[in-house]
Amino acid sequence: MVVITALMAFLPGFPPFSAIQPEQPWFDGFANAGVFVLLAMGLNVVVGLAGLLDLGYAAFFAIGAYVYAYSNSPFSHTDLPFLPMLLVGAAIAAVFGIALGAPTLRLRGDYLAIMTLGFGEIVPIVFLNLDPWTEGTNGIGGIYRPEALPGLGEFSPLTPFAYFVLMAGIVTIAMILLYRLQDSRIGRAWNAIREDELAAAANGINTVTTKLLAFALGATTAGLAGVFNASKLTIVSPDQFLFTVSFTVLAMVILGGMGNIWGVAAGAFIVFMIQTVLLKQLNTITEGLGIPILSNINFLDYQFLLYGIALVLMMLFRPEGLFPSQRRRRELHIAEEFIEGIGDEAALIGGMGDAPGSDEIFGPDQP
């Protein structure tokens, strides 16, 4: 998996991809897609690995972006180097993740989701309303572009190659690290918490710190993506970080296959490409056809309708996502085969597969 990602970075060098090399927009598009790939991989740690539903993920993306805006803009009269700021932005987002998570991660399921939803709403609204420090709706513009890196050349809209290579590098490293984490003691603990939190605690896992770590890592990744995105767009404004962003990333994670790192990355890439390339192309094609009804449709307006339909169909026909992790596939399908095959024990297995309720700890001999 990791090798494939690494190779993907060099893909444009080879035919048939080399044919499109002069067309810089592709690199630009890939770099933008990389931001969402990174976001999806970060959210996957929280939602897919630790099983905490986070509906306000864009908040950490926003925090990373604003951190970079403060460090590199005429607004704040500062110009700090880009690469260290990537880490600083990530670290500050992690601090916010911990500050949000520490008091609230004792909540379970729905309550946590509502709390993150609230946080996701608060952050852009704070940036919107703190006019003197954030320029409100206008946002902070004119963010300086990163200084040229040796071997990569200028970071500019005309030569997005540098952005692309940098993003490919970040995604590759993030993927390696996440795979290592997933297969470690911590990854097992996340999985145990996702399956049965009480049993995890009764087996010596400190559920609060373990969940906090997942939350902080998710926030770190989002912060990193935020810094990158801000440096690329050269403007940050509150409307870039609305609920739709959290929702899009969550949809990417679910479509890609929750819990599967490369699957989520691929899902994010595909969804982003559909959104930015396919729908635009559809518009151009239908306009070219000259059929009155079709050419009046702007497919981009139907983006969220399409996500919605895709999610509904997905849950009905392929709940484990496009590229499920082996674990989820076994979870959702092998159990079915097993039940069909054995029949008698189906009830027992069905009972085990259910999410245990908090009342189960009482056991039947409790009133």
């Binding site: 601090v95 911990i98 500050a99 520490a102 008091p103 991660l105 690290l177 290592r180 984490l181 297969d183 470690s184 003691r185 911590i186 990854g187 097992r188 603990a189 999985n191 145990a192 399956e195 049965d196 009480l198 049993a199 995890a200 605690a201 009764a202 087996n203 010596g204 896992i205 400190n206 559920t207 609060v208 710190t209 906090l212 770590l213 890592l217 674990r327 076994r330 979870e331 092998i334 159990a335 097993f338 024990e345 027992l348 297995i349 085990m352 597969g353 245990p356 189960e360 700890i361 009482f362 056991g363 039947p364 001999d365 409790q366 009133p367």
Partner: protein
């Protein structure tokens, strides 16, 4: 001190219901102690109190010579302590501000305040052992949580099996080992040699434990696909993985056929002999209870009505009354 666990006047009240009432209870080292009683007697509640899942309404539990579970004492003081250090830094910062310090100093002051506050918040939420000892020294007591009890040396199984259904048998046991492994997230990210060596050792140990309970060769099976009896035994293997001193088994033979029950009874006996474990058992199958227990305690309506050797308990009129009802006068 030869008692592994000592419960003193433990009471648990759920609203108006007195689930456990004033129970004194002792588990001597390397003993097999059974807790029996009719349904609704409060056995599982008592179990959950020992395991740190419920805080008792009154009373305390000493485990391994240290009070672990009791009502919290002076818990309100804890958040106050959290504010002391950041408070001092904040006061210094504001003093500097009034003295006309540079903007940079003030920002640094605020920054440090926030960081210290955050660090304390995380420590307070995570409650690592050194922090708990620090609190104990100041005189603040907070009841141990389930994971603290595991670290202290307590392993348990559940009445209704609570394995991690979608993890393999091996992974289930490895999760049980969690508290005894040291590799943190940084080790995992860097894939340090220490991390890899520890992981290999853990896997070997897990395979041993699986073999001990008779599940060799089932490493790669999902827990939910194992037959019922095997799931019970896997849960025991998982509980053993944390190297406990005291093993709590909540109805280990529930739903088993006589043959499986016999096997499990033998396994429990072996655990004491080979691993030197102390075992507390909740059980309804009287043949199992009377066969392997050193001591039996009977609970009814949350109260301890009898205690003693299996033979004494069997003849106790109160016990017979609790199970069969009072003789018609």
């Amino acid at each position: 001190m030869s008692d592994v666990l000592h419960a003193t006047k433990v009471t648990k009240r759920f609203g108006g219901l007195l689930a456990v009432n004033n129970v004194d209870f002792t588990i001597p080292e390397q003993a097999i102690v059974s807790l029996i009683g009719p349904n609704g007697a409060g056995k599982t509640t008592f179990f959950n109190i020992i395991a740190g899942i419920y805080d008792p309404t009154a009373g305390r539990i000493d485990f391994q010579g240290e009070t672990r579970i009791a009502r919290s004492k002076r818990a309100w003081l804890e958040p106050v302590l959290w504010l002391i250090v950041p408070g001092i830094i904040a006061v210094i910062t504001s003093l500097l501000a009034s003295a006309g310090a540079a903007e940079g100093t003030l920002i640094l002051g605020i920054f440090i305040t926030v960081l210290v506050l955050l660090a304390i918040l995380v420590t307070g939420v995570a409650r690592p052992p050194w922090y708990q000892h620090l609190l104990a020294r100041i005189g603040i007591f907070r009841s141990a949580r389930p994971n603290d009890m595991v670290v202290a040396g307590l392993g348990r199984t559940f009445q209704n099996i609570r394995l991690f259904p979608n993890m393999t048998a091996m992974e289930n046991v490895l999760v049980g080992m969690h508290s005894r492994l040291k590799a943190g997230w940084i080790d995992a990210l860097l894939s340090t040699p220490r991390n890899r060596a520890e992981e290999l050792k853990a896997r070997a140990r897990a395979a041993e434990l699986l073999a001990l309970v008779g599940l060799e060769g089932e490493d790669d099976q999902l827990a939910k696909n194992l037959p019922y009896g095997d799931q019970r035994r896997l849960e025991i293997a998982r509980a053993l993985a944390s190297n406990p001193v005291l093993l709590l088994l909540d109805e280990p033979t529930a739903g088993m056929n006589p043959n499986e029950t016999q096997q499990l009874t033998r396994l429990i006996g072996r655990l004491r002999q080979e691993l030197g474990l102390t075992i507390l058992l909740i059980e309804h199958d009287m043949r199992v209870v009377m066969g392997i227990s050193d001591r039996v305690t009977v609970l009814d309506h949350g109260e301890k009505i009898a205690e003693g050797t299996p033979d004494e308990v069997r003849r106790d009129p109160k016990v017979i009354e609790a199970y069969l009802g009072a003789p018609a006068a």
